[in-house]
């Protein structure tokens, strides 16, 4: 092979690097849609739009289950006794400390709206069961109180709150 001057060397280097860079951009451009296609499609996203729930038919002490974004949501119309039980607990003694007031909306304390998925490994807890008048998860024995807070069992966190708001005294929009 004849020797080449360093100027020609750097032109070849430049071409290699430039080709490699364009190739890398091209590869990224090819990969992006192949990966993005696995994200929820437009119809799934549309089905995840907020839902409005009418609270009027829910009786005192009744727990209703609805679905939003494929997740079960518990809507609990708490009695006075159940509200007091939730408020009178020493917050610092809880496994996941959270006062009741932070889990309900102001002047709507009788309504508890939580995501009905056990924070341990994802089963749906059973309503009106357990020692704390709340929920009992049959999978591994976690127990939640009338504010949906974990009291006993392997679950690490209180039942999560979905985003929701009162659009009137008897209607909420979840999501």
């Amino acid at each position: 092979m004849t020797t080449v001057s360093s100027a020609e060397h750097s032109r070849r280097d430049f071409l290699y690097i430039a080709t490699g860079a364009v190739g890398a951009v091209g590869a990224a451009a090819v990969l992006a849609p192949l990966i993005a296609q696995m994200n929820p499609d437009a119809s799934t996203v549309a089905a995840g739009a907020p839902v409005e729930i009418d609270l009027a038919p829910i009786a005192d002490g009744q727990i209703v289950k609805v679905f939003w974004r494929s997740k079960p949501i518990f809507i609990f119309h708490r009695t006075k006794k159940e509200i007091e039980e939730a408020q009178n607990v020493s917050v610092s003694s809880l496994p996941d400390p959270e006062p009741d007031s932070e889990r309900v909306k102001k002047s709507h304390e009788q309504w508890l709206v939580v995501i009905g998925i056990c924070t341990h490994l994802g089963c749906i807890p059973l309503a009106h069961q357990g020692e704390f008048d709340g929920w009992f998860c049959p999978c591994h024995g976690s127990q939640y109180d009338t504010a949906g807070r974990i009291r006993k069992g392997p679950a690490p966190k209180n039942l999560y709150l979905p985003p929701y708001a009162f659009i009137s005294d008897t209607k909420i929009r979840i999501g």
Binding site: P33, L34, A36, Q37, D41, A42, T44
Partner: protein, 408 residues
């Protein structure tokens, strides 16, 4: 190429792997150091293009399977969901559908290259036959994929093609019922076509491995048809063939992208956007363009059984090409008479394709019969006789002589 590998990895981890599974050496000897004739032209890049397209079809196909439902009431809608709701679903569907067309376009060029330069001649007969097998697998895969859309054309194409087997005497009807899984094309048919459509591309990939293996054992043909005689006749596959293949893949992708982004439905039939209706046959049933030549041959024979035989033999006859062509000279470059018959054959094949899209009446039928006769005559009469009577041009002494001149 058996014998001592020239691959000597420097990195200790690569040496460790090489002693246990010599895949590095295999890749090196097959695709990096592999001696490639130095005079290959761009017609030789279509093998690489075909491998690339197989990869594209498999990847887009597996992703489409994540969103497709193979059930008669849901299939068409699931394809529309892909087009409208799935992120980049429209892109994946158009890539896959137009990718199939590009795949066939490339395979026809690849086959015509083989016929022109005599790449099917000894010692490459098995290579050629593996290619014919690959072509048949491609046709089956493409056909079944088209059915999955479950549009009007999908359903009726499935009905027509499966009904071909009823031409077989005695057992024909049982075979058709067996293929259908019912009394007509229906859900069982759709389900099994889905399963096989997923399977066959991997069978194709396996046969491609055999095809490349067969190629590497005998070495590539080249435009002169004269085998390499020394190292001066060859260059290492990488970077020369790698870059040449890569460049043409890019150009090919430009054409592919033109279809996908600007005219994605041009090659398709609008009737396939109508959901399948078993009670109504469309006014014209036409396969995709890559099956049209054989469709024309089928229709030009007025007898049902003979038409089916003509259809299958028009593909099957390709397997006998190495023995039908009796000429000792490989490349058409040095066979002036063969060259003319070859181009007539190309015209006949393309002409048959065009005629396959026309209604089977009047002048179209006459022309289709003329071209069909030429098609078979080319293989059965012209090729055997040319070898005996043709006066060929003198071959160059070697590849490097043909490229570099006598002082090579």
């Amino acid at each position: 190429m058996s014998g001592h590998s020239t691959y000597q990895p420097t990195h200790p981890a690569l040496q460790w792997l090489e002693q246990r599974l010599p895949i590095g050496g295999l890749i090196h000897s097959s695709f990096i150091a592999y001696p490639t004739p130095r005079n290959l032209n761009y017609w030789w890049t279509f093998g690489g293009i075909l491998s690339f397209m197989l990869g594209v079809q498999i990847i887009t196909g597996i992703i489409l399977t994540m969103h497709y439902t193979p059930q008669v009431d849901l299939a068409f809608k699931s394809v529309e969901t892909i087009m409208r709701d799935v992120n980049y679903g429209w892109l994946l569907r158009y890539l896959h559908a137009n990718g199939a067309a590009m795949f066939f376009f490339a395979v026809y060029i690849h086959m015509f290259r083989g016929m022109y330069y005599g790449s099917y001649k000894s010692p490459r007969e098995v290579l050629w036959i593996l290619g014919v097998i690959l072509y048949l697998l491609m046709m089956a895969t493409g056909f079944m994929g088209y059915v999955l859309v479950w549009g009007q054309m999908s359903f009726w194409a499935a009905t027509v093609i499966t009904n071909l087997f009823s031409a077989i005497p005695v057992v024909g009807d049982s075979i058709v019922t067996w293929l259908w899984g019912g009394y007509a094309v229906g859900n069982p048919t759709l389900n099994r076509f889905f399963s096989l459509h997923y399977l066959l591309p991997f069978v194709i990939a396996g046969v491609v491995v055999l095809h490349v293996w067969a190629l590497h054992v005998v070495g590539q043909n080249n435009p002169t048809g004269v085998e390499p005689k020394s190292d001066k006749d060859t260059v290492p596959f990488t970077p020369y063939a790698t870059v040449k293949d890569g460049f043409l893949i890019v150009c090919f992708c430009l054409l592919f992208a033109w279809f996908v982004f600007y005219i994605p439905n041009y090659l398709g039939h609008p009737d396939n956007y109508i959901p399948a209706n078993p009670a109504v046959t469309p006014s014209e049933i036409v396969p995709e363009w890559y099956y049209l030549p054989f469709y024309a041959i089928l229709r030009s024979i007025p007898n049902k059984l003979l038409g089916v035989i003509a259809l299958f033999s028009s593909i099957g006859i390709l397997a006998f090409l190495p023995w039908l062509d009796t000429s000792p000279v490989r490349s058409a470059r040095y066979r002036p008479l063969y060259r003319q018959f070859f181009w007539l054959f190309v015209i006949a094949a393309v002409g048959l394709g065009w005629l396959g899209s026309k209604p089977p009446e009047g002048i179209y039928v006459i022309l289709a019969r003329v071209f069909t006769v030429y098609y078979f005559a080319f293989f059965l009469i012209v090729l055997p006789l040319l070898g005996i009577f043709e006066k060929t041009k003198p071959l160059p002494n070697s590849i490097s002589e043909s490229v570099l001149g006598a002082k090579a």
